[in-house]
């Protein structure tokens, strides 16, 4: 029984393992097997306790702050300064204790990590208030993130890593509107890079644990949001290709790195798949393909905007590498039309840029949108087909939903002529009918 295992006993046993191996009482394989057994026990059994311990630490921290605040007004500036450091010093003493004595206890590590990063924020805030510092929230978040990330590694805290990623998002939203205008968001990517090695370590150790999956999801969501800011800042009108690349990369990574033994999709692949569908629908609108700027010449643009552009292009590149590798080794499990999305988007982007920039509907923008419409239809049919093959109702429905969304999108696309809309509807409707006929025939055949 997992629940009846005493963590102290497990700690003691783990401490004994090297000695037992040295004495020849058990083999090193047996020691590794015991280690693995208790490793999985810890990861399964402790999660609820970890959450409770973390919340507890946060409450204790808040309580200390309230106690301090109670008599705050009557204290001199010097006293307030000293008191502001106390929670931080307590937290640091606890981190030291955990590193020395409780390094194998996850609840201890997670709780103390949260307490320490909260204490850093408290100390900076209290000092700022005492000294009438009104620095921007942006600067506060930045310094806080830098001071917090080493704790994630030292205490191996996945909850801490998730909180850190959320913090980078808060920073990004705040930074964007600083000084009233769009600000360079590239720092976000540096912040994100700082947590990636931690994620990789976690992935290698505990690939299937809920926390690892949760961290992967949070990282993916943060990347999606940040790419929006980055594309806006780059002003290169290539966000369509970048987003197609990102969503496909998330989908492919979910399929490849979080592959499941059953035929169900991993959470990450599901997120990527939904993102892919939504992006395809968005790109199927003709107005998306009207290019608003053409200052793509590298040298004429600022270095920061060029860096943003380079970051944007990383995602389609990642798709090509991920998909290319599996295709080369002939062992892909993903949907080929889905993997082709960034290439199709890049093709549409090239087509739309063939016409001169006029900021209205052109033959080229129309052609680009048509390409994406055909592609989305094909993608919907492919997902539907995969749903039928794997007997996955959810997947088949998602394919149908994609096709239906495409049809609805065309209905509201008022810029298209009635004739074009009519033809589009007939094509989509015919596709829908054919897909349904195939679905039911197949169902009938298997039944």
């Amino acid at each position: 029984m997992v629940g009846s295992i005493n963590p102290r006993a497990v700690r003691w046993l783990r401490g004994q393992l090297p000695e037992l191996v040295a004495a020849g009482a058990i083999s090193s394989e047996s020691a590794a097997a015991i280690e693995r057994h208790y490793g999985s026990v810890e990861s399964r059994g402790n999660f609820g306790f970890v959450i409770l311990a973390t919340v507890g630490a946060a409450l204790v921290g808040a309580g200390i702050i309230l106690l301090i605040a109670h008599n705050w007004d009557d204290l001199s500036r010097a006293t307030r300064t000293i008191i502001a450091f106390i929670p931080l010093l307590i937290a640091q003493a606890l981190v030291f204790f955990v590193l020395m004595r409780r390094n194998e206890s996850r609840p201890w590590r997670e709780a103390v990590a949260i307490f320490d990063v909260a204490a850093v924020a408290t100390a900076i805030s209290l000092i700022s208030q005492t000294y009438q510092i009104q620095g921007t929230f942006d600067a506060f978040m930045r310094i806080w993130l830098v001071l917090s990330i080493p704790i994630v590694y030292l205490l191996r805290t996945t909850l801490g890593a998730i909180v850190y990623v959320v913090g980078t998002m808060v920073w990004l939203f705040n930074h964007w509107t600083l000084f009233g205008g769009p600000q360079n968001p590239n720092f976000f990517w540096l912040f994100l890079l700082l947590v990636i090695p931690y994620f990789l370590i976690r992935y290698r150790q505990l690939r299937d644990s809920r926390e690892t999956v949760a961290l992967a999801m949070v990282l993916a969501l943060a990347t999606i949001v940040a790419l929006g800011f980055t594309a806006e800042y780059a002003k290169a009108d290539i966000g369509s290709v970048a987003f197609a690349g990102l969503m496909t990369t998330i989908y492919l990574a979910g399929m490849k790195f979080f592959a499941r033994t059953d035929k169900r999709l991993s959470a990450l692949a599901l997120l990527g798949g939904i993102g892919l569908g939504v992006t395809a629908i968005v790109l199927s609108f003709e107005s998306i393909w009207r290019m608003s700027s053409r200052d793509l010449e590298w040298a004429k643009r600022s270095a920061e905007a060029n860096l943003s552009l380079a970051i944007e292009l990383l995602f389609p590149l990642a798709t090509v590498c991920l998909a290319g590798w599996d295709l080369f080794r002939r062992e892909w499990r993903f949907s080929l039309p889905a993997a082709a999305f960034p290439i199709i988007a890049a093709f549409a982007w090239t087509i739309t840029n063939l016409c001169d920039y006029v900021n209205t509907s052109t033959r080229c923008s129309f052609a680009a949108a048509t390409i994406i419409n055909c592609y989305t239809l094909l993608l919907g049919i492919d997902i539907l087909g995969r749903g039928i093959r794997t007997n996955s109702i959810a997947r088949a429905n998602f394919g149908l939903l994609l096709i239906a969304a495409l049809a609805i999108a065309r209905f509201f696309d008022s810029d298209l002529s009635f004739v074009t809309r009519g033809i589009g509807f007939i094509v989509v409707g015919a596709g829908f009918l054919v897909a349904n006929i195939v679905l039911f025939k197949k169902r009938g055949a298997t039944a």
Binding site: D73, N103, I124, I127, Y131, L147, L154, F179
Partner: protein, 191 residues
């Protein structure tokens, strides 16, 4: 491995302590040695005056120019201003630059845009934290002395090498705490 982790943690802990400590040190230096500037407050929107435990200050010197300044049109980063004293001894904006300058009369400001016929800047001190106990009285005193016809309040700010430290709110030429104490004593004793 454990020793390395502890060593790294010691460095991290020092960095965590150094950030607030450096604020204390820098502000302490500015408050001790900075040049004192007086900033006259402006009439405030009563609803806007107090937010929790701080007074939202509106400073007259934020009206930097009476004509639109082309410098502010596209600026999306920090702006630096130098200060000078007007005939009454209150601070007002002298020069404006997008290049970094330092000195005991320089403040980094934000673009405040063009509004109500003024090219505005935003100083990095628009909130004055006040003790919770005196917050309601402080709000009332500030409001009464920062309205049209009775502009009787100013703040002192110490500036040193570009660091501006808000020092004190003066009402009727008295520090806020003293003013409130005097007001309290003037009140007729309730039987």
């Amino acid at each position: 491995m454990k020793r390395l982790a502890v060593l790294i943690f010691v460095l991290v802990a020092l960095a965590q302590l150094a950030v607030p400590a450096s604020i204390v040190w820098k502000r302490g230096q500015t408050l001790a040695h900075g040049r004192v500037w007086k900033f006259k407050t402006e009439p405030v929107d009563p609803i806007d005056a107090i937010r929790g435990r701080y007074i939202a200050l509106r400073l007259a010197a934020e009206k930097a120019r009476a004509t639109p300044d082309p410098l502010f049109k596209d600026v999306a980063g920090p702006v630096f201003v130098t200060l000078k004293e007007d005939p009454e001894g209150f601070a007002q904006v002298d020069q404006i630059s997008t290049e970094r300058i330092t000195g005991d009369n320089v403040i980094q400001v934000e673009n405040g845009y063009w509004s109500d016929g003024w090219q505005r800047v935003r100083f990095p001190f628009d909130k004055l934290w006040v003790a919770e106990k005196i917050a309601p009285q402080a709000e009332q005193a500030y409001r009464e002395n920062s309205r049209r016809g009775k502009e009787n309040a100013y703040v002192t700010v110490r500036i040193r090498n570009g660091d501006a430290a808000l020092e004190q709110l003066y009402i009727d030429n008295k520090p806020l705490a003293d003013y409130l104490r005097d007001q309290e004593m003037k009140k007729p004793a309730t039987p």
